[in-house]
Symmetry: C2
Subunit: 224 residues, 2 copies
DNA sequence: GTCTATAACGGGATAGAC
DNA sequence: GTCTATCCCGTTATAGAC
């Protein structure tokens, strides 16, 4: 078997198992068994177990961000400014598409959630380096579209888009007896995109909060 | 040392370590070292490592839900129906309060995020049994307040509240060099509550999505 | 490049004294 | 109830044959 094939098979197996069971709970033995190789191959190709994780994450994230940027390019190539819904759709649909990929998608949503809650900056730094470009450009695009929202408040609104999309995808998987969705998951998947768009568009468009920002408050207090 | 004291000390240590490092990555040896006891004590009081996790989670969640229910009782004891903002505040403030508890709070946000993304229904079932009551009553209260939103769509809106609150708390902790918030965390903490309220209130209040629900669509297709 | 075999280690659980 | 000492297992990583 060629080197590239072995590497890909290891990544496939690792992605599935990490997503399903978590990184710590997954042994290299399980990965190599599923990949049809052996322990030594992982260490040869990736160096160690911990080095396998960034490789898996990058392989997932890179195409998503590429697609996000492509869609943004298309939007910005036009003359007229985009609608908020268009911008949201361009940002979220590559993520949703990923999650709706047959049987690969669903488990990935959980992997994302795990990454977001992971301790230590290591994982977040890793994720950032892949996602940074797309995030910056979209944030700027939202800022142009919503000039009346102060940048600090808009920053938080923008960062809530991902969690909402990811958490809803996870909710879609929950079985009804542990508090899953009220209607069949297949039917919901279609409606869910539209409902999520409604939810996020309204939230992004909300008038700026009137209350004085805390930064100002504390500056005033400091001078008192 | 009394039995209760030992038990509490183990729970304290486990809570901190699970939240900081994750469940799998935390060894019982680390827990007992911090608790000032030994391995056998954990197995005596809790039976096993896996049985320690539910105990830790329950100790965190129970008071939060109690407070949520108290606040809802106060609101419903009045004659006039609550505003959406009041209801949101009552639901979210016990969570936010938890996260703002000195040095205990911040790590707990990550523990929550991890739980939400955890595979297997085990953890989610455990969480549900603690949280179920409060969730049901609040969902009903929101439904009364927003009768024009179809229940299925409202269900998803309501389930997004938690993820938004939790993810923002995690964002508050991120250091600026990994994409943390633009302004100092201390100043933001105050403003953040108000901004989050603006965001969520607008999202909850959004007019119902016009598009036909997928359930209807697929029923029509099935009859074609 | 790939594999087998093994080294070196740390984990959870438990028996049994106190 | 609490502790020490120990068992036994699964883990990662690597040396060395092919």
């Amino acid at each position: 078997m060629s080197a590239d094939q072995t590497k890909e098979r290891i990544l496939d197996a690792a992605e599935r198992l990490f997503a399903e069971q978590g990184f710590d709970a997954t042994s290299l033995r399980a990965v190599t068994a599923e990949a049809g190789t052996n322990l030594a191959a992982v260490n040869y190709h990736f160096g160690s177990k911990s080095a396998l994780l960034p490789a898996v994450v990058a392989r997932i994230l890179v195409p998503v961000c590429q697609r996000q940027l492509e869609l943004l390019d298309e939007i910005e190539a036009r003359d007229l400014p985009p609608t908020l819904e268009e911008l949201l759709e361009a940002f979220t649909s590559p993520i949703t598409d990923l999650f709706e990929q047959g049987r690969r998608g669903p488990v990935l949503a959980r992997m994302f959630a795990r990454i977001m809650g992971d301790p230590g900056d290591e994982m977040q730094r890793m994720t950032m380096s892949e996602v940074g470009d797309a995030e910056e450009r979209y944030e700027a695009a939202f800022a142009r579209l919503l000039p009346e929202i102060p940048p600090a408040e808009l920053w938080w609104r923008f960062r809530s888009i991902g969690p909402v999309v990811v958490s809803r995808q996870i909710g879609l998987q929950a079985s009804p007896d542990v508090g899953g969705p009220p209607t069949p998951a297949e039917a919901d998947a279609v409606a869910l995109r539209a409902w999520t768009m409604t939810f996020l568009a309204a939230a992004m468009r909300a008038p700026a909060t009137v209350q004085a920002p805390a930064a100002v408050t504390s500056a005033v207090l400091a001078n008192a």
